[in-house]
Every structure is written in C-alpha cells, then in structure tokens.
C-alpha cells in the first residue's frame, strides 16, 4: 500500500463475523457491567456485546444507534482505554474486550444492510436552531428531531461534521463513515444550513425573528493556540487546525514539506504527524515538552506514529524559529526541565498545542456568560447557560475533551431544551385556560 492510500484507508482492520464472535465470546457477560457505566454517551457495551454473542447483530446495532447517533464514529476514535475498556472485568484475566472494534462491527453491519433504526415522529414542535455541526451539534440535533422538533443546524464551513470532517485523520476515521452518520441525522429531518456563520452571516436576533425559539450552541474551539516566540510569523509556520483542515477534505492532495516538526503531545499532534508523514514528508519530528508518561495522546497512536518512522523528542519546548528569506529553516528548542539545547532543520512547523474558543458574545448573545478563555459557562450536566433558551455543549464548554463527551453533552442539551420548551408550553396552556375562564368560556 502506498502512503497516500494508507492515509485514506483505515489502519485497523474490521472484524469478520467469526472474529467478532470470538471476541464477543471472551466477554464475561458481567452482572453489573462496568463497561456500560464507563461510556459517557450511554452506549451500553455490555448489552450490545451480549447481542452479538447471541447472534443478534441487528439488535446490537439498535442498542448502539439508539444511544449514540455517532456510534460508528465513536467505535473508531473513542479513547476506550480510558473509558469502557478501562473498566472491563476481563482485564482481571488478560486484556479487555475490544469494545470499539465490536461496536464498529455492529455499525458496519447496520450500514451494509441499510438498516433504518431511528425514525423521527412528524416534526410538530417548535423550530430550534443548533449552531455548529460537530459531534455535539449533531447529537443534539438528532435527539431533538427524535422528540418532534423542527431542527436546523447552522454551520460556517461548507461540509458538516466539525473536527470529524476537518480534523481527525482518515486512517483513523474515514470520511465516508462521518458522511454516513451525518446522513442518519439528515434522515431524521434535520436541515443543514452550510456556509453560514452565526454572528456574521446571520445573527441570533434574525434567527429569532425567523421563528427559532431555542438554541444549542456547539461551536467547538476554532482558534488555534500559538506561543509568542521569535519567528512565529514566518512562512511555513502553521497550526494543526489549518494543516489538518486542508488535508482531509482534499483527500490528502496537499503539498507537504520535506522536514516537518509538530509541536505538541496530544492526539491532534499525532494526527498532524501521521498526516505529514503519509502525505510525503521526508522527515517528521514531534517535539513535546514533557515525558512519555505525561503525554496525553493515546498510546496506540504514539506507537502507530513511531512505526511510521516519526521521531518523537521529549522534554523540549520551542524557543525560537529561525528563518531565511521569510521562510522557516530551523527550530530552536530548550529543555523544559534543564538548559539542554536542540536545533532541528525544518521547512514546516505545525503547532498542535490546543485550540481556544471564539467569543460567544459575538456569535450568540451579548449577555451570555463566558470565562476568560471564552469558554461558555454552562452546567456540564444540563448544558444550561445563563440565557434560558440557549444551551451549550461540547468543546466550547469543556475546553476540548472527546467526541463521545461532546455526544453526551449534545444529548443532554437536547433533553434540557425539551424540558424548557415543554414547561413553557404548559405555562401557556395554563394561561389560556385562565383567560378562557375569565372570559367565561369554561
């Protein structure tokens, strides 16, 4: 397989039915299954693994899809080792059940046979708007449609999906999987308004005057973080967001430089390194300021990039970028804990040290409470903000965690929004009764 193909093809092979059954047979079918308690989105692995074990793959897909509209996405990119699999009782014998791969088996099956699991009732309830089409927005929209709301998602980019579409490398999450799950959302009757940035192309007040009565704010973190060191403005210095957002939608047809340095130690940094390496960079190095143990990236990913030949340098932090003719030629870094010095040749330096939120006051409502980092202050369980008809979910609240937590928050936002509008409706009908009584109609 050439490297470009490797970039576009899922690195982990799917299970055959027999292998899925073998893995499901390793499951201990626990009584109070800890794996199911470990899933933020409530996907209930114990139940769907049991279904696979008892030859009911459709039932397995049903369990997953009902709990998690992005079941196939999560199957591929959840950090299981820190969630469901961490808690797996089988660890007491040897190693945890490969829950993610089994979930992928069931959702692939669902797609292959064209199963239609979710059906939305007729949309008779109010018009509601979801701002941002990342995992949080998609989950909120799907669940609202399932409750009978008329839902529209507003998305500033031209393709929906948020980080799923513009960030995570295809070798971990192919675009056709993202597209398929977005189709499930569309099939529920959710409308998508693309290329439409709320706060710029349309304001929240305009949306209100169009009849939208409640909002889910799920705009993620769109601004890259940079550090202020000499040379940061040189040509060839870029950010993970920009680099990845160019690569995936173009199926990897981008120009990558010869010597690439990635700064950072999370999954985003790993994705940048994988992308650069598979798309033709000669030499790729990751420079991370702390130790291997402290590095937040999934260890399987660290292993994967190492196998691709990416050089990981621990314990150094960037000090200066040296340029020539306005272009990057070298990175100088110093020891994080000592005064060691490092000089690396480079023609591209990618900063993958995190993202920050845009100002929600400009996007949603001048009065919405945000903190110093622009994060929306919302109740993490109910997603309520200080504005009664705005609910916030996902990265913009939790400062960037995981897809599955964004899904869980999207579901919670949908529930809270529904509770809010339901109570409004009850108040209104009480009011009409009072008015009716006063008029002597009753």
């Amino acid at each position: 397989m050439n490297d470009k193909k490797k970039y576009l093809t899922e690195a982990i092979k799917p299970y055959t039915p027999l292998l899925a059954m073998e893995e499901a047979s390793r499951c201990l079918l626990c009584h109070d299954a800890p794996c199911s308690k470990g899933c933020p989105a409530g996907t209930n692995p114990a139940k769907f693994i049991r279904s696979i074990r008892f030859k009911n793959i459709k039932g397995a897909a049903e369990t997953i899809r009902k709990a998690n509209i992005l079941g196939g996405v999560c199957a591929r990119i959840c950090p299981y080792d820190k969630l469901c699999e961490e808690a797996c009782s089988r660890t007491g014998i040897d190693k945890p059940i490969e829950i993610g791969r089994l979930q992928r088996f069931a959702t692939d099956f669902e797609q292959a046979i064209g199963m239609k699991i979710l059906e939305a009732p007729e949309a008779t309830k109010e018009k509601v708007a979801v701002i941002g089409s990342g995992p949080a927005g998609l989950a909120a929209a799907a669940n609202l449609a399932l409750m009978g709301y008329k839902v529209t998602i507003f998305e500033e980019k031209s393709t929906p999906g948020g980080v799923l579409t513009y960030g995570i490398v295809p070798s971990r999450l192919p675009q056709n999987i993202v597209d398929q799950e977005i189709r499930y959302v569309k099939d529920l009757g959710v409308e998508f308004k693309l290329d439409c940035k709320v706060g710029k192309d349309i304001t929240l007040d305009e949306l209100k005057s169009e009849g939208y009565v409640a909002f889910v704010l799920s705009i993620g973190l769109q601004q890259p973080k940079l550090i202020n060191i000499p040379g940061i403005n040189l040509e060839g210095v870029t950010t993970a967001i920009d680099f990845l957002a160019a690569a995936k939608p173009n199926n990897g047809n981008i120009d990558v430089s010869q010597n690439v340095i990635v700064i950072g130690g999370g999954d985003v940094a790993m994705d940048c390194a994988t992308t650069a390496k598979l798309l033709g960079a000669n030499k790729v190095s990751i420079v991370y300021r702390r130790t291997y143990e402290e590095m937040p990236a999934n260890k399987d990913e660290v292993r994967y990039v190492s196998e691709l030949g990416v050089n990981i340098i621990y314990g150094f932090t960037p000090k200066e970028i040296i340029g020539d003719n306005g272009k990057v030629v070298k990175l100088k870094a110093v020891g994080f804990k000592d005064d060691s010095l490092l000089e690396l040749k480079a023609d591209k330096i990618i900063f993958a040290i995190g993202q920050i939120a845009e100002n929600s006051k400009e996007i949603a409502d001048l009065n919405i409470s945000i903190d110093g980092k622009n994060l929306v202050l919302a109740n993490e369980e109910t997603c309520e903000t200080n504005i009664e008809n705005i609910f916030a979910a996902g990265d913009v609240v939790n400062e960037g965690k995981t897809v599955v937590e964004a899904v869980a928050a999207g579901k919670a936002a949908a529930d809270s929004l529904n509770k809010y509008l339901t109570s409004l409706r009850e108040v209104q009908s009480d009011d009409t009764e009072v008015v009716a009584e006063k008029k002597g109609v009753k």
């Binding site: 039915p17 027999l18 049991r50 008892f54 030859k55 009911n56 459709k58 039932g59 049903e62 699991i117």
Partner: protein, 413 residues
C-alpha cells in the same frame, strides 16, 4: 423508533405473548424467580415439577462438558423434582397467576400412582394454572415408579395421562423422555390418554466425564456418582430430531408440540419452530446466562421475521418439515465440487489433512506456496468446507452429474 414484530402464538388454545417459556427446572422454582423472568420478557413459565414426594438432593449435583475453551457444551444434573413442600409451591403458583394474569403458567406435576396424579392435577387446576405438564421423563428419580422409567412405558404413560385428564378441564401436555428409540410410541399413548400436547425433550441419561482421582463419573459425590440427565446446546440436534419426527407422524398431526433442549438464542428458537414446535422451553442457557437471554431471542426473532417477511410465527411453524425427507428419497445424481478462494486462504492445510485422513485424498498440497488444490478424486463430501477455519474460503462450486444421470436444476446450499 424500531417497531418489533408481534411474536404472539396460540398454544393448546391458550394465547401466549411469545413462545419463550422457562422449562420446568430450578430456573422456575419459586415466586421471585418466576416474577423476575416474566418481567424480563418470558412469555410463560413451566413451574418446577411438583409432587407429593419430596426428594433429598445431593451435593454437588452438576457438571459440564467443554470442547477446547468453550464451556457448557452440555450440562449434567442430578436433580429431582421440587424439594419444597407442596402447599408452598401451590401458594406461589397462585400468587404468580394472580400477579401476572396475562402470562402463562404451566404446572409440571409428577405422581407415584394414579391417586397422586389425580390429586396433583386437581390441586394445580385450583391454583389457576393454564396448562398441566406431566413429567414422565426425569431420568434421575430415586424411585422407579416415577420419572423416565414411566415415560419409557406407553401403558403407564396412557394410564397416568388419563388420571390427570380425569381431574381437570385444562389442556394436558405430556413431557417425553429422549431415553428411547421411538418417541412417537409414548407420545401417541399420551394422546390416547387424553393429552392435548407433547413436550420434548427432558434430559438424556449420560456420563459427562470420569474423574481421574476417584475413578467415578462427574460430579463426584463423596467418591461416587450416578448416570444422570444431560441437557444444553449439545442435545439440541437430538431434540430437533424428536420434534421433527413427532410433527411428521400422521397420528400426531394436529398435536401442538413444545420444543425443549439446548435453546439459547433466536436461531435455536427459529429452528425448533421450523420443525414444528409452537412453544419453546429453556433451562440450561438460563442457568448459564440468566433470564436476560430472552431479550435477544425476542429482538433477534423479530428481526428475522422482518428480514424473511413472516407476519406471524404461525407462518414459520413446521415450514421445514416437508423438506426433511427419508434418506432413500434424497437426490443422489450429482456431486458439488468445492472451490477454494486463494485470496482468502491462509494456507493452514487443515483441508488437506482432513481430506486425506478422513475423506478421499482429493486435495493436493503445494509445498512451496502452501496452498491446496482440489483434484478429480473429489466426491463432493464437503469435509474440507466443514474444517476450514476461514469463513467463505471454501464454498460450493461446480455441480457435476454422475455418469448416466440426467442433468437438472440443483439447489446449492
């Protein structure tokens, strides 16, 4: 959201919400257990066999067989009928029927003589059971006037069925022992005695393993053991056969059958329905996994009906019977030569070994490429297909007619 199929089915004139029942055994031996089972989704209960006789049970009393890493291929038990006082059982049954009026309660009874059978029949009718099952088939009763010794004797089966029927207006079902060559004989005797229905099978007399320290069977009870009943997945093929044979017998044509033996998922359930059972009973799989297995039986069977376009279970009952024919009627005009998919083959050579050592030496092994190829000596037995560890690697290929036979359309499985 997902709409599930209606799995209701009529059995012995009783409308059942679904065909999934607990079979008579420890899984349904008190109120709390039955209540939990019904809440989980089981359509009904065959309550643990009750009698006037109260057994004295041994410990331990179970064993299971394994093949490689898989436990519970089959399960052996040394248990007899309920060890609770009769009044207590009757009380719990009455409460069950009162609290779950829409679920079906089948009372399983066993007497030692006509008087006892009559008495039990009357008592369980009074507590509100919907159907009575006569246990003619427990192979480990410590008294030869009870259990499978009775079930092997058509006269006794008929006589006791008559006793039971004389004391009740309820439909009576006779539970058969598989420890016999032709189950049709006692089944017909039961019908002659008034039985409305037949259930099968109870457990098969067996020795699972020999203990190498005490030179006795398993489980070891103070250094000794007994031959006793075997159940679970391993007995399913035997039970399917008995059900099919009874369903095909003209004298049993309209007798509703309840299938028991090794059912643990919806596929097993569908198989029993297809050979003619209208009701399905389960013990061993519940003992191993719990009542929760019914959830996937209901969901899986429902999905299967949708996929195949069945509107009711009735459409499935007995659908395979016409296609299960005597050996002499099988079409023997052709052989189907397997084909091997070289891209899928991993080169283990298991097909080669089995074809050489267990079939017709019709596979050649390419030592350099480590790949098999099938020769003209192939008789189309498909042993290779049975042993190949890779799904879809060896599949049925060309249909070749034997010399002198007229080529015709052949369905390839």
């Amino acid at each position: 959201m997902v709409k599930h199929k209606d799995l209701s089915i009529e059995f012995c004139g009783v409308k059942c919400e679904n065909p999934f029942f607990l079979s008579s055994s420890p899984v349904g031996s008190n109120y709390d257990m039955c209540s939990k089972a019904l809440e989980t989704g089981w359509g009904g209960i065959v309550y643990k066999t009750i009698g006037v006789y109260i057994p004295d049970e041994c410990s331990p009393r179970f064993d299971n067989t394994r093949k490689e890493a898989t436990p519970f291929l089959g399960f052996k038990n040394m248990e007899q009928i309920s060890d609770k006082p009769l009044e207590k059982n009757l009380e719990m049954m009455a409460k069950l029927k009162k609290d779950y009026p829409d679920k079906i309660l089948i009372a399983s009874i066993m007497g030692e003589n006509e008087e006892e059978w009559k008495k039990l029949s009357k008592l369980v009718t009074e507590v509100g059971a919907d159907i009575i099952e006569c246990n003619f088939s427990c192979p480990q009763m410590t008294s030869s006037t009870m259990g499978s010794d009775v079930g092997q004797n058509p006269e006794l089966v008929k006589k006791y069925t008559q006793s039971v029927c004389s004391a009740t207006h309820l439909p009576v079902m006779a539970k058969m022992t598989p420890n016999i060559g032709n189950m049709e004989i006692p089944a017909i005797a039961a019908v002659k005695g008034g039985a409305a229905s037949i259930s099968a099978i109870n457990t098969i007399k067996a020795i699972t393993r020999i203990d190498f320290n005490h030179y006795t069977a398993m489980p070891v009870v103070n250094g000794k053991s007994s031959i006793s009943g075997y159940s679970g997945k391993a007995v399913k093929p035997i039970s399917l056969r008995f059900i099919a044979q009874m369903a095909q017998h003209p004298d049993l044509a309209n007798i509703p059958l309840s299938g028991i033996g090794g059912i643990e998922n919806w596929e097993d359930a569908a198989e029993f329905l297809m050979v003619g059972a209208r009701n399905l009973q389960v013990t061993t799989a519940i003992m191993q996994y719990g009542y929760r297995i019914v959830e996937d039986m209901i969901s899986g069977l429902s999905y299967f009906m949708q996929a195949k376009g069945f509107n009711s279970l009735d459409e499935m009952v007995g659908i395979a019977l016409d296609n299960i024919i005597p050996a002499e009627e099988i079409d023997r005009d052709f052989k189907i030569i397997p084909k091997i998919d070289e891209d899928v083959c991993v080169g283990c050579g298991r097909c080669y070994i089995s074809c050489y050592d267990g079939a017709h030496q019709a596979i050649e092994w390419d030592e350099d490429n480590r790949r098999p190829s099938i020769t003209d000596d192939c008789v189309g037995c498909h042993l290779c297909m049975n042993v190949c560890p890779i799904e879809g690697c060896i599949t049925p290929g060309e249909v070749k007619f034997k010399e002198g036979r007229d080529p015709h359309e052949v369905i390839v499985g």
